[in-house]
């Protein structure tokens, strides 16, 4: 493309010269389609969806992936990523994934679940799938609240945290304590990789992507059950801006749900 003002073109690119397909270094992964996502502005789900798409693309396993989505905010995950999806009933994604993986042992099978799905209504299915050592990956979005139904208390809601169903704050005598399902997963013999990550900063997003890749490889290589918890924000449910939500998460969620690998039998 001809640069304006003759010789200056060699030194100073125009924006048009720069914005060319060969210079594209990052963008929406091809597996993520153009359907606008229903998630609220700033929702962590979008980032994790993107990471899942990127990892599947990088591994080149589009035709070898079966994904199971939950009931909750991610119920429509099947609309956004161009892979084969099964939408399971509330909490039963791990059961569904167990049979799928056993019947299709060469495929990557993963579930994508929220805290209500995995840590509340589907605790039984989640723990038993982990304990059987099903060769599946479980992506667990923990935002300490029920997002889709409008901000009610979740099993992972922090003590004192206000939600629609604990408007005066979570109290032990009324509501019990937050459930650390990922910590339970660590103690189960069937799990091979348990990690807790977040997607609030570029560095953390990169770590989460690495964790998802590890979990997916474990599923393909029959290493056992992998659990990737992503401590997430729910700006709408928490009644905060996305920026404030990230800050609140850093200050309140991370001390309670500290980030890092909790178990890795490959190491």
């Amino acid at each position: 493309m001809a640069a304006p003002f003759g010789g200056r073109g060699a030194l100073y690119m125009t924006k048009e010269e720069l914005i060319q397909p060969e210079n594209r270094i990052y963008g929406k992964p091809a597996l993520m389609n153009d359907t606008p996502m229903h998630y609220c502005p700033g929702c962590s789900h979008g980032v994790v969806h993107k990471l899942v798409a990127e990892v599947i693309e990088e591994m080149g396993i589009e035709e070898d992936t079966i994904a199971i989505c939950p009931v909750g905010c991610a119920v429509f995950a099947y609309r956004y990523l161009d892979i084969d999806w099964i939408e399971a009933s509330h909490g039963r994604a791990p059961a569904c994934a167990s049979s799928v993986k056993r019947l299709w042992p060469k495929k990557l099978v993963f579930t994508y679940q929220g805290d209500g799905d995995m840590a509340c209504i589907g605790t039984g299915e989640a723990i038993h799938a982990m304990n059987r050592g099903e060769n599946i990956a479980m992506i667990f979005i923990n935002n300490a609240i029920y997002g889709m139904t409008g901000g009610q208390m979740a099993p992972t809601t922090l003590m004192g945290m206000k939600t629609a169903t604990c408007p005066y704050g979570r109290q032990a005598d009324l509501h019990g304590y937050p459930l650390h399902i990922t910590d339970i997963a660590v103690n189960l013999e069937g799990t091979c990789y348990v990690t807790r990550q977040a997607v609030n900063t570029v560095a953390n997003i990169r770590k989460t992507k690495k964790a998802i890749r590890q979990a997916f490889e474990n599923s393909l290589n029959h290493k056992g059950c992998s659990v990737v918890e992503v401590v997430s924000t729910c700006a709408s449910g928490w009644k905060k801006t996305p920026e404030q939500a990230n800050q609140w998460m850093t200050e309140n969620m991370f001390p309670y749900y500290p980030l890092g690998d909790l178990k890795n039998t490959n190491e």
Partner: protein, 75 residues
């Protein structure tokens, strides 16, 4: 002197104006527009593209995958 030059393209209609990209940009080159898209969101836009080095931070944090980053080394 070789210098990394970058630029972003925002999918304006997908953008929900969550503002995470403006916080993520280490050079403070992204801002929300004064005008709105069809959904009514103030969308992200680059203020000073000439300073952008294409670090991709804004695009990585974008939950909706609205930002495409282009980068080239300028000799």
């Amino acid at each position: 002197m070789a210098k990394m030059r970058g630029a972003i393209v925002v999918d304006i209609e997908r953008c929900k104006g969550c503002n995470l990209c403006t916080i993520a940009c280490p050079l403070n080159l992204v801002t929300l527009s004064a005008t709105v898209n069809h959904k009514g969101y103030n969308y992200a836009e680059q203020t000073d593209w000439e300073k952008c080095n294409g670090c991709t931070s804004c695009a990585i944090v974008c939950p909706d995958g609205c930002i495409t980053v282009y980068r080239k080394k300028e000799e």
